[in-house]
Amino acid sequence: MKSLLRFRLLAVGLFAAPALIFAACGNDDSPPNTSAAPSLTVAARSSATAVASPTKAPLTGDITVFAAASLTDTFKEAGKAFEKANPGTKVAFNFASSSALATQINEGAPADVFASADSVQMQVVTDKGNATAPALFATNLPVVVVPKSASPVQSFSDLAKPGTRLVLAGPEVPIGKYARDIFINASKAGSGISPDFSDRVLANLKSNEANVRAVLTKVQLGEADAGIVYSTDASVAANDVKVIQIPTQYNVIATYPIAALKGAKNASTARAWVVFILGADGQAILAKYGFGKPQ
């Protein structure tokens, strides 16, 4: 009799366990990440008490911000500042290439805000109706980076030198697209370096990396002779890489749009984040990391 009761308890437990697991998972709000890009989900906790604005109800709740990889350090700091100014809120991040993020958002990943490194990927999201009215919040400048130790690349035109190991981000990743546009600019009749400059440079391409930070890593490791990243990324790796400026007449300015998403679970806090980034505090943090003002 005793063993029968024990057995029935065990059977009930085994049936109940899956149900309990599903219930527990329902409270998990970290976003599913389908890409292999190094993406970080950070939930920093507000540590200081700050006075919320007395004229409106204090913001609470969690938001998840999907942001381009180049915004990693900047947004993490902005997140801490936002949480300090709005105790009770928590900002979690998913950093990856804007193209990967756009795909995830359109496939229903739970995000509240999208900050992209170009308008093309923002349009991928707005075209599907998942965001409206994006606003430009920053600009950035592509640069060439080379390993600090010897590199055959000493100037922008050296990128076309045969045998150079060039690494770029994939063609859909904003910085990858900007780089390819720059090479085309440098191939234009008249002002360009040579009509076949773009072809010669792309013949040196050794790898299409998943995002700008992966390009930076290959250059830091010395595996690549040169890569194209944003000037803000180059500053982050100043110890390992040297920067070569791209001639202004060929360079493009990267423009970063931000938008609160239609499917945002916490719409008011999402909008507040966008306002924060566009406002004086957010802009100051962006400027600190080398981003330019939106034009």
């Binding site: 085994l14 389908t34 795909t103 994939g170 790898s207």
Partner: protein, 270 residues
């Protein structure tokens, strides 16, 4: 049947079915999505997909060839030799099986990268670098997949009674002749099963390849890398990732059927 037994049976059946459904649903979902996506067939004929498929097929085959060439002697040694280092060698060969593939990639980089243990002197002497080459793809696949062949081959050789080999020697056969005429024919189901496993693992390799070899269409972008690139937003897009996944799923099914057919004849492998 007592009610105890009925409860036990019901629990086991329920858990078994639940777990089976957990395995079935992802693949059913993939097939369903692929068949409903109008661009699937068009995407399968793009050059990016064709190049990835060709590269995957020939690098995996090259990997298997190298595993056969280099792994068979090791497997025979592990099966027969009785020296003190055998256990250590055995564990070393098994290491890549338990190691996360990304760690294998980092390890290859620290060894054969331009500032690597072996890579730096080789570049200094010959100017040769490993990174970004198809060779790097094969090296990554070999590191993670060869152990599967070695394990299977070792178990196959162990199952061959050494008495047969001794008898062959007393009759005047050389070691080589004995090996190919006596040992291999008896061990071949295990060897074949090992080849199939090795080939499948090489086809599926992603982490080490991505880190060590890079990602360039036609040179280093194998099928799994093409899937990742598609999800990262390449022109193939999500539909392309699904189409590629469908191909890989079919390949996996064929491999599975082959393996089960061969392994049922190999002692201690099915």
């Amino acid at each position: 049947m007592s009610s105890n037994d009925r409860a036990a049976t019901a629990t086991v059946v329920f858990l078994g079915l639940a777990f089976g459904v957990f395995f079935l649903v992802p693949f059913a979902g993939l097939i369903d999505r692929a068949l409903h996506e109008p661009r699937t067939w068009e995407l399968l004929s793009t050059s990016q997909v064709q190049q990835a498929l060709t590269l995957s097929l020939w690098t995996s085959t090259a990997t298997v060839g190298l595993a056969l060439l280099l792994g068979t002697p090791v497997a025979y040694l592990l099966a027969r030799a009785r020296f003190r280092g055998v256990a250590a060698l055995d564990a070393l060969i098994d290491l890549p099986i338990v190691l996360p593939p990304t760690v294998a990639g980092v390890a290859l980089l620290t060894a054969f990268g331009r500032h690597g243990l072996v890579g730096e002197p080789i570049e200094a002497w010959t100017g040769f670098t490993f990174g970004f080459r198809t060779l790097a793809v094969i090296m990554a696949q070999l590191l993670v997949a060869a152990p599967f062949y070695v394990r299977a081959a070792k178990s196959g050789f162990e199952a061959v009674d050494p008495q047969f080999e001794k008898v062959a020697h007393t009759l005047g056969a050389s070691r080589a002749r004995t090996f190919f005429r006596i040992t291999v024919p008896q061990a071949w189901p295990a060897l074949l099963a090992g080849i199939v496993l090795c080939w499948a693992r090489a086809m599926g390799e992603l982490g080490a390849t991505l880190i060590f070899a890079g990602n360039l269409e036609g040179k280093t972008q194998t099928m799994p890398l093409a899937v990742i690139s598609a999800l990262e937003g390449s022109s193939l897009g999500l539909a392309g990732a699904i189409a590629l996944s469908l191909i890989l799923l079919c390949v996996a099914l064929v491999v599975l059927v082959l393996f089960r057919a061969v392994a049922s004849r190999a002692p201690g492998l099915s």
